[in-house]
Symmetry: C2
């Protein structure tokens, strides 16, 4: 029985992870669930799964959650510091990091130090602190199993390929809802349009990142760290059907790809069951119904966030942290109607030029970079 | 240094295998080469690769080959019985079975008994005697590594998946040169049209089998034996671009596929280097240049050879042997202009109904079935 801690259990990944656990309750058990703000869903999940521990990161909601669960033998904590403590519980085998944004970093670090298997769904962790995280994981001999569909695809393609050189990673992208628009049309898009993603149902923040291709940029950075390749060896392939979830090309020219209908429960379950596979009740790929798959290059000039991501990881240091912090601010500002679509990349690029560059930042310096960048980005948002 | 015996070195697979060996002469060495009839190319290859042993199966050409190689310290043998002896040489590590047709069976059996790694390019071996071969390989703990591009693709997708159940094999097919013709048009096709295969350069026999889809039927039977799946779990997917070389669907819905530009040196090299991969100087897959991949079901009614292959393996026993023997005769008869395209499947089906069925044939009974079927098929050819 693997005991699982889900950081961010009320989000899209978190709820699907709980579904995976329900389908294999003979193999998996929920030990800890945590949420940022969604107290009611957290309470409902706690009643259903009877975990050992529950954390509500928003301290204002602690009393409410504690009171609602008072009749059950569940430990309830409040505040984000509690996240860093609960992940260390000796009974936990796997920590699924499924919270959104930079907040995922500190508990992930603590989980690695406690030698938990990391099922990584929080991409900002590697985007911001890839070098530090990879060094830590290496030091503590902790496997980091990707939960993103793209990275899980790559990880699945690498099974049995130990020691074989990766020549290229083909990172597929749906292209987002604006793939077919002209640059002029893109300049005018609204948050409502951006939130209608064609293939995947996700949270609002990631959906916007998907429309700007920043999400793909983050995934490229994440892939660099997870699989030890150069950014220039990662090629973004726009594949509107989202059936090939990514692929790996080896030195003998052979390309291995992982395909399927879009269902995030597959990468979640694979991270939980790896290296075994378990039955998953979901729609099977039907190539005849599909008929065709298409491929085209990413329009880096018209979706500058992807270009900025390549520039940030090539530069290294705290630059991806700047990229991420500025993006979090701009993503929210766009959703709130404060800036335009291209306002996002303009402000991010401006922050990348103006926040002080640090070549080999400590974690402390990354926190400072994050705070400084957010302040700067918010100023730029106000002025625009 | 792996020492390699190439049965059928002058054919399409054989010459490409020698190319692979030349590119990695630090890892591979040619120990033995054999040919059926092409004495001149065999002599040329022997001069270039300086193997320990050379066999010309056509005994009439033995004196010529022996004389031409008299100045070299190469052992030269003649006759097909010699094939069964040379594969047992203690210095040989890998036997590549690249001869065409039923003749590949006896030396393959001897190679297994001598515990050689089998790089299997002769599909008739498994089509005719899959049960016997698999039992033998199991008994002698000999790996059978597939060299067909489709089976190599499946084998590559199965790396690292030990113990994970195969839900379905997606066996891709180019569809052959007559994919878009109506049934009426197919009835009129000539050998010349059939020999123009769109994607792969192969020998004439296999090219015709590719046009009738019998080649795909054989591959389906081969896949059943190699990967231990039911025929009904193998789905033929017509994919005209021939970029996905086949795929495997697992019980969690995940599909892994192997892709690349068509180049038989990849599966040959992978069988030689497995589980490692070596650099291969060949064209890389360019998804942007490709643009799209298409998929459609196989037209089993209009290409009855594929249906007959499913029927033969479902029936089992000596039925696939009947299928293969009748096909060898009809394939040649079609090339010689003696029968029409649908004459091939008509005569095969007739033989399947009329040759005596044996449920669990011995090897001896398979030889008898083969001979009986050939005689019957030839009679049918004469009468048509």
């Amino acid at each position: 029985m693997k005991k699982i801690c889900i950081l961010g259990s009320t989000g899209s990944i978190g709820t699907q992870a709980l579904d995976v656990v329900s389908q294999h309750s003979d193999l998996f058990e929920v030990h800890t669930i945590t949420a940022g703000n969604n107290a009611d869903l957290l309470i409902q999940q706690a009643r259903q799964f009877q975990p050992d521990t529950v954390v509500i990161a928003n301290e204002d909601k602690y009393d409410y959650v504690a009171k609602q669960l008072a009749d059950l033998p569940i430990k309830v904590y409040g505040g984000s510091q509690a996240l860093c403590e609960v992940v260390c519980n000796q009974h936990i085998d796997i920590v699924l990091t499924a919270m959104v944004g930079f907040a995922g970093l500190p508990p992930t670090i603590e989980a690695i130090k406690s030698k938990k298997i990391i099922a990584l769904a929080n991409k900002e962790t590697l985007v911001v602190a890839g070098e530090i995280i990879c060094q830590l994981a290496n030091e503590y001999k902790v496997p980091i199993l990707p939960v993103d569909s793209e990275h899980s695809a790559i990880f699945q393609c690498l099974a049995g390929e130990q020691g074989n050189r990766i020549e290229k990673i083909l990172l597929t992208a749906s292209g987002g809802p604006f793939r077919k628009l002209t640059r002029e049309q893109i300049a005018e898009v609204t948050p409502e349009q951006a939130l209608r993603h064609p293939n995947w149902e996700m949270g609002a923040k990631i959906t916007i990142d998907s429309a700007t291709l920043m999400n793909k940029g983050f995934e490229m950075i994440e892939a660099k760290w997870l699989f030890g390749v150069k950014p220039s060896d990662i090629e973004v392939v726009v594949h509107p059907e989202s059936i090939i979830h990514s692929a790996v090309q080896f030195s003998d020219s052979s390309v291995k790809a992982q395909l399927g209908m879009p269902d995030m429960r597959l990468p979640i379950q694979y991270a939980f069951s790896y290296p075994a596979r378990l039955h998953l009740e979901t729609e099977r790929l039907d190539l005849f119904k599909l008929g065709a798959m298409h491929f085209e290059p990413a329009r880096m000039d018209d979706f500058p966030c992807l270009r900025l991501a390549y520039e940030a990881i090539e530069k290294g240091g705290n630059m991806p942290c700047i990229l991420n912090a500025a993006n979090e601010v701009c993503n929210a500002a766009f959703r709130e109607g404060k800036i335009s679509f291209y306002g996002i990349s303009d402000i991010i690029e401006n922050c990348m030029h103006n926040v002080a560059f640090i070549n080999a930042p400590t974690l402390e310096q990354l926190y400072t970079t994050d705070a400084t960048t957010r302040t700067m980005a918010m100023e730029r948002v106000q002025k625009s």
